[in-house]
Symmetry: C2
């Protein structure tokens, strides 16, 4: 209840973003009172997510300030981290924001921008171990709060994160009304949403795919952090 209106929320996306990382929170946060939600990218214009869905974006450098900045994750993060202009804009908006937030491996981008030093943060389970590269402490929880920094775990955790943030900003009743509108009473058909509960062979197959990507992601992270 301590936020001046309008509430400017910026999702800072990039090519190859995992779109559900931010479309989930977008659906929650645009329903807050007087929210102005902006989807933006380094260059503006059309941005294609993993899987092909394509979004219209504003240019980050055209946004003077925001109340909430949220960075989603995705395979494209290796390129986002190699783009100093993008990281500069994330840093600038993040330093002026009331809430600095991320979903999934978006926390690694916050880290690369230097915004996670000494902070506790969530991350997708497959990339969580990279957080210490940026001086951040990985936390194996679905929603993590450290002061005014909020982070969600992998992809769908963005919905839990956004409802938590909505309650912080506008109160529990408002967040509960949004949850009811979105009929968020989940019933996953399988118990396969976390490494701890997944079938061993399913976990092994997914882990193998992620491990193949790890060296590239680690190299991108190290390089971004050194030049920050």
């Amino acid at each position: 209840m301590n936020e001046p209106l309008p509430l400017v929320v910026v999702f800072a996306i990039y090519p190859g973003v995992t779109q559900l990382d931010f479309t989930g929170p977008y659906e929650v946060l645009h329903r807050l009172k007087h929210a102005k939600v902006i989807t933006a990218s380094g260059k503006g214009g059309l941005v294609e997510a993993e899987g092909g869905l394509t979004f219209v974006t504003e240019r980050l450098s055209d946004i003077p300030r925001c109340d909430v900045i949220c960075i989603p994750g995705g395979a494209g993060q290796v390129h986002a981290m190699a783009d100093p202009a993008y990281l500069d804009e994330v840093r600038r908006l993040g330093q002026g924001a009331r809430y600095v937030t991320s979903v999934c491996s978006g926390s690694l981008i916050l880290g690369a921008a230097g915004l996670l030093r000494g902070k506790r943060s969530a991350c997708h389970w497959g990339w969580r171990e990279m957080l210490p590269l940026f001086g951040a402490e990985p936390v194996a929880e679905r929603v993590v709060r450290d002061g005014d920094q909020f982070s969600g775990g992998g992809v769908t955790a963005g919905i839990d994160f956004a409802l938590t943030l909505a309650a912080e900003i506008e109160g529990e009743s408002a967040a509960k009304a949004i949850q009811l509108m979105l009929e968020y009473a989940p019933e996953p058909p399988f118990d396969s949403g976390a490494p701890e509960t997944a079938d061993p062979e399913v976990l092994a197959a997914v882990r193998k795919r992620l491990d193949a990507m790890l060296p590239q992601r680690r190299a991108a992270a190290m390089k971004a952090f050194e030049s920050a």
Copy 2:
């Protein structure tokens, strides 16, 4: 496992769509083997969802056929139902598809297109009572199957629906791997996702908002159905 490849999935959207109704399922279904996911609308080009997020779409009439058609819901449905060209394309693609599907109040659009006669279907809890207008039987479940028609309840039910459909198409292991990648082990911060569990005052406030929209939606539905 009985689907020829490539698997063409079409989300038939419209201005004022609730974007999470289809972005959730999109994130699941594009991860199926050889999936080709197309976001399309009546006119093609840019389509703005409720809340302002804007998507690039193809034109429905340019798509010769598909394996899966999925219709999302949203406030814009009153206009989609008043657009005979849009309903014609939904009907044409639906009649040739292996799976005819919807999320949230998208089932009402399927109904207006004449594709739900005698079928059991899910819908957003707030609009479910409208299904009989189209000769369909409302079912108060999160994911409903009637033959090769699959439907999801309100908004976030689209993720449960899509994982169910993914298992049908590519098998349980594939669906479980996708669930693990999306870290779909939900932990809603409140127990407010269904009218049965919501606080009475939260339910009353949301119900009041929905009831204000009901006459317009009902009129649009009746008109569409009569001219179908």
